[in-house]
Amino acid sequence: MPTDAVMYPFKRFLPAPIYYLVRGLRAAGVGLCFAMFWGGSVIIGWLILPLLWLWPGTRATKLHRVNRFVRQGFHLFHFTMKTLRLYHRHTEASALRADGVPADQPCVVVSNHPTLCDVTSISSLFPNIVAIARPSLANNPLLRPLVRAIGYVPVGLHMLREAEERLKMGFDVLIFPEGTRTPLGGPLRTFHRGAFELAKRANVPIVLVALTCEPPALTKRLPIWKVSDRMAVNTVRPFAAITPGDSSRETAHAVEQRYRDVLGYSGGLGGAP
C-alpha cells in the first residue's frame, strides 16, 4: 500500500471537516466519471453505433469510422477527469512511434498496465488503434456492442487471425503482455508471447510504451474510492520500437527484461518498498 505521505499529503495541513469533505467530493467525482463511462458506453454501443454502422462502406471503413467516433468519447472522458483534477493522461512524446517508424506503418503496441484507464489513455493518443479485450469485457452484455463495433479483438481461439486482419486494415493493435493490470507496487507479471507472435506473423514493428502513474490510482489492489489528494498523472511514453525476432518466446522474455530496466522493480508504481 502507498503511504499517506504519497496518497494524502494535504491531510496534515487542513482541518479535518474541510479535508474529508474535499476527499469525499473527489471520490464522488471518480464515481461520476465511471457512471459517465458506463452510461456513455451503453448508450453509444446500443443506440448510436448501430446507426453509424448503417452508413455505407466496407467493413474496414466502418470499423475506422466507428473507432474514430468512440475515440472522441475517450477524449471527453479524460477531459472530464482532468477538469475535476482526478486523473490526467499525460505525454511528452512528439512521435508515438519511437525509433523512426513511419506514422502510417501499423504496429503492435505493447505496454505495462498500471491503471484501469490505460486503454482509454493510449487509445485517445494513437489515431487508429484497437485493443485485445478480455472475454469478460468483450462478452459483457452492456459493453459488447461497443467493444465489437470499434474493432477490439476478444481473447480466444481466433485472436491472432483477427488481430492480423486489423493490422492489415491499418489499425495498430494494443496488447498488455501481462494479461491484466500490473499489481500495485509491482513487480511486473510475466509477459505472455501473444503480442510478439502476432508481430512476427504479421511482420510489423512492435512499439514499446511505458506507463507510469503518480500518485497511484485505479490500480489492482488499491480500492477504487481511495482517491489521492493530488491529481493522478499517467504518463504515456513510447520508448522504443523493435522488429520481432524469430522466436516470440525469446522476444517476450527480452522485452519483459527491458521493461524491468526501464520501470525499475516496482514497475514505476510508487509506494513500493
Binding site: 480466444g156 481461439l157 485472436m159 491472432l160 505472455h192 508471447r193 501473444g194 507472435e197 516470440s248
Partner: protein, 91 residues
C-alpha cells in the same frame, strides 16, 4: 479405445508446436499440458487447437468442455473420440 490415440496425439503436439527438444514418448498421458506439466502457454493452445481440428476433423469451440479437454493427452484423446462418435451418430 481412445488410448490408441495417445502416441498420435503426442507426435502431433511435438510437430505442431515445434518442440524440437521434446521426445513424444516422454510426454505423460495424464500430466498437465499447460502450466506446470509440459509448460505450454496460451499461444500453444491456439496452435494445438488448430492442428487437432485439422487432423481429426473435429470442431474445437471455445467452451468449458474444450478447456477441460486440453488438460492432458488422455483428456484430448477422450474429447476426440467423443466428438467423432457424436459426428457419426448425427451424420
Amino acid at each position: 479405445m481412445s488410448s490408441s490415440l495417445y502416441p498420435e496425439i503426442k507426435e502431433l503436439i511435438v510437430e505442431s508446436l515445434q518442440l524440437e527438444d521434446v521426445d513424444p514418448a516422454s510426454i505423460s498421458d495424464t500430466d498437465a499440458l499447460f502450466g506446470d506439466g509440459l509448460g505450454l502457454d496460451s499461444i500453444d493452445a491456439l496452435e494445438l487447437a488448430t492442428a487437432i481440428s485439422r487432423r481429426y476433423d473435429v470442431k474445437v469451440s471455445q467452451d468449458e468442455n474444450t478447456r477441460a479437454a486440453f488438460r492432458s493427452v488422455k483428456h484430448l484423446a477422450e474429447f476426440i473420440e467423443a466428438q467423432r462418435n457424436a459426428g457419426h451418430t448425427n451424420g
